[in-house]
């Protein structure tokens, strides 16, 4: 990382009272990516999985989090644990399955065996080791430095000194509450993960996930489809606001004409569907009062939790996380989140809705992917055309859902995190 390269790059974020600009070097420079791993991904809280994915003792999932393979597992006593998936002996990945249920995990290289609590249970040719070899636990799987959950969303941090999760989540907590309060029984991840990739910088997906401005042009064909589908739209207009939730988190909260399984009815769901939606709404109102029920049922939320968790509560609920592998390449995982106590018919509507818009085979996401990849190609001209503009709504007292306040909140926090490494 040569100093001259940094000096040539200049400031990565340039702000005046009326204009907010981000340098395109932030999307192409390898030093920036390394600084992001050092100062963001290796220091923040990162989403690893959901309680519902490992319901029983011995259930496990392996998942890549900030370049590390993590074993996310429920131990014999029912406690959720997370370990670095690397053998303390020589380093091989101990668990090579992506998910399952196991009483123990054996590293195939030399045969060391670990319990779901990470403890070393046996070694082949154990008598060749000194007695008390594992008294200090050096033969056990290494736990992630920090593990915590909020409303069944589990997060890990590789920074032992990270602030506690609830403080970190700041204003985002209330919105996670609103999303999870839609069920008295809690939420669950629907079976199946959409795993894809985008040949673009990861921050482009951050922006895109909370971008209310691009819909009418990028997603013109989605709206054409909605207009063609008889009864797929409620008479509700697209309007709402953006909020900065602190620590780089932000949210758009808005009304929209599409159907929501919790709980905005559209004619396409028929009279039977209306009865079900009405009863879901009545239960919400009874449990939480009219105002909160109305907000849960009729408002949509695109929630961004710094640095890379998106929970979009729209025509279905998607949980999405993504990590950069190169400045111009990221890998994305997407799931569907739903109330545990949902009826089979509501689940069916939900998943039908989900695929309509969301995911790499949907009517919208492929065009987002195309847009992001086209942006990345445009950044080849970084020297001559060095700036992105993020100024929309900057001088308004309350920016709207299709302004860019939420992106500015992200960029400010991002800049604070990396600037000492990449600008000085």
């Amino acid at each position: 990382m040569g100093k001259t390269a940094f000096l040539q790059r200049g400031p990565l974020v340039d702000v005046s009272s009326t204009r907010f600009r981000v340098s395109r070097h932030a999307f192409v420079d390898r030093e920036v990516l390394e600084a992001e791993y050092a100062e963001i991904f290796d220091r923040c809280w990162l989403y690893v999985g959901h309680t519902s994915e490992i319901p029983k003792a011995g259930d496990f999932i392996t998942r890549t989090v900030s370049r590390r393979s993590v074993l996310f597992v429920r131990d014999k006593r029912g406690e959720v644990r997370a370990f670095l998936n690397t053998c303390p002996h020589r380093g091989a990945q101990v668990c090579r399955a992506r998910s399952g249920n196991a009483k123990s995990f054996q590293c195939f290289y030399h045969g060391w065996v670990f319990g779901p609590d990470g403890r070393l249970r046996s070694q082949s040719d154990e008598e060749s080791y000194a007695s008390g070899f594992n008294d200090q636990g050096a033969g056990n799987l290494v736990p992630v430095p920090r593990l915590a959950s909020y409303r069944d969303f589990w997060f890990v941090s590789f920074n032992p000194d990270v602030e506690n999760l609830e403080d970190y989540l700041a204003g985002a907590k209330d919105y996670i509450d609103v999303i999870c309060d839609q069920s008295s029984e809690g939420m669950e991840i629907v079976e199946g993960c959409q795993e894809y990739s985008i040949r673009a910088n990861w921050k482009l997906l951050t922006e895109n996930s909370i971008d209310g401005y691009h819909a009418s042009t990028t997603h013109a064909t989605y709206f054409d489809y909605m207009k063609n589908s008889v009864g797929s739209l409620a008479s509700v207009s697209l309007e709402g606001k953006a909020f900065d939730l602190g620590n780089g988190h932000s949210v758009l909260e808005y009304s929209a004409p599409w159907g929501r399984p919790v709980a905005q009815w559209i004619p396409a769901w028929g009279e039977e569907g209306r009865e079900e939606i009405d009863s879901i709404y009545a239960r919400l109102k009874e449990r939480l009062g009219e105002e909160r029920a109305e907000r849960i049922a009729r408002k949509n939320r695109n929630l961004f939790i710094f640095p890379n968790l998106v929970i979009n509560d729209i025509m279905a609920v998607t949980v999405r996380t993504f990590f950069p592998h190169e400045p111009d390449y990221m890998q994305v995982n997407g799931w569907a989140l739903a109330p545990r106590d949902e009826s089979a018919s509501a689940r069916k509507y939900r998943l039908f809705n989900f695929l309509e818009f969301l995911g790499p085979g949907g009517f919208a996401t492929p065009d987002d992917v195309e847009a992001l990849e086209q942006c990345q190609r445009g950044y080849a001209s970084v020297h001559e055309a060095p700036w992105n503009d993020i100024s929309k709504g900057m001088t308004k007292e309350q920016p709207a859902y299709d302004d860019e306040l939420q992106m500015r909140a992200f960029w400010r926090h991002w800049h604070e995190s990396v600037r000492t490494l990449v600008e000085e």
């Binding site: 079976e191 199946g192 894809y196 054409d224 998943l351 695929l355 085979g361 492929p366 065009d367 992917v369």
Partner: protein, 170 residues
């Protein structure tokens, strides 16, 4: 002719008919004649691509898929792909659908269950992506030809890590 030979002969003719039909289907896709391709489907036809970490027989009513179109939504998918505002496919990519190992699994109450392997190439703007896996068809005999009641594409890849999206029809 002995009984065995007669049965063999019948099976061979059926397979050739199925192969002809599927080759024509692939050709329509590669020539972007998608409205004609859509006509191959029955009124209750379905087109589905499950994600790769669920059972091949998973139901889209209970598990997450990449694509789970009923006939109406499939029509809308085709209409969308024919528009200039389908940005991911305009300008259009070039594709080549290879199909092999075609096998009629069973014939039950007028429905043929057919399996085959596919390898699809998609090229656009200097990038070539490949999709590979198996097709599971439910075909309904229709005169000399067939209609598609169900086409399920089972990807062999690790999700869509390499390709990123399925913006074409597989």
């Amino acid at each position: 002719m002995s009984g065995i030979a007669e049965n063999l002969n019948e099976a061979a003719v059926l397979r050739i008919q199925v192969e002809d039909f599927l080759s024509r289907e692939m050709e329509l896709l590669d020539q972007w004649r998608l409205p004609e391709w859509l006509e191959l489907f029955t009124e209750d036809g379905r087109y589905e691509i499950p994600v790769t970490d669920v059972d091949p027989d998973a139901s889209p009513e209970r598990a997450l898929f990449y694509v789970a179109d009923d006939r109406f939504r499939l029509g809308e998918r085709v209409a969308r792909l024919m528009k200039k505002t389908a940005h991911s496919e305009y300008p259009r990519s070039r594709t080549r659908h290879m199909i092999s190992n075609i096998h009629v699994i069973s014939e039950d109450e007028g429905t043929l269950e057919v399996r085959a392997c596919f390898h699809v190439f998609r090229t656009k703007a200097g990038v070539t992506d490949q999709y590979f896996g198996s097709y599971r068809y439910k075909l309904i005999p229709d005169g000399e030809s067939f209609r598609v009641r169900e086409k399920r594409c089972l990807l062999d890849s690790d999700g869509l890590r390499q390709q990123g999206r399925i913006s074409i029809i597989l």
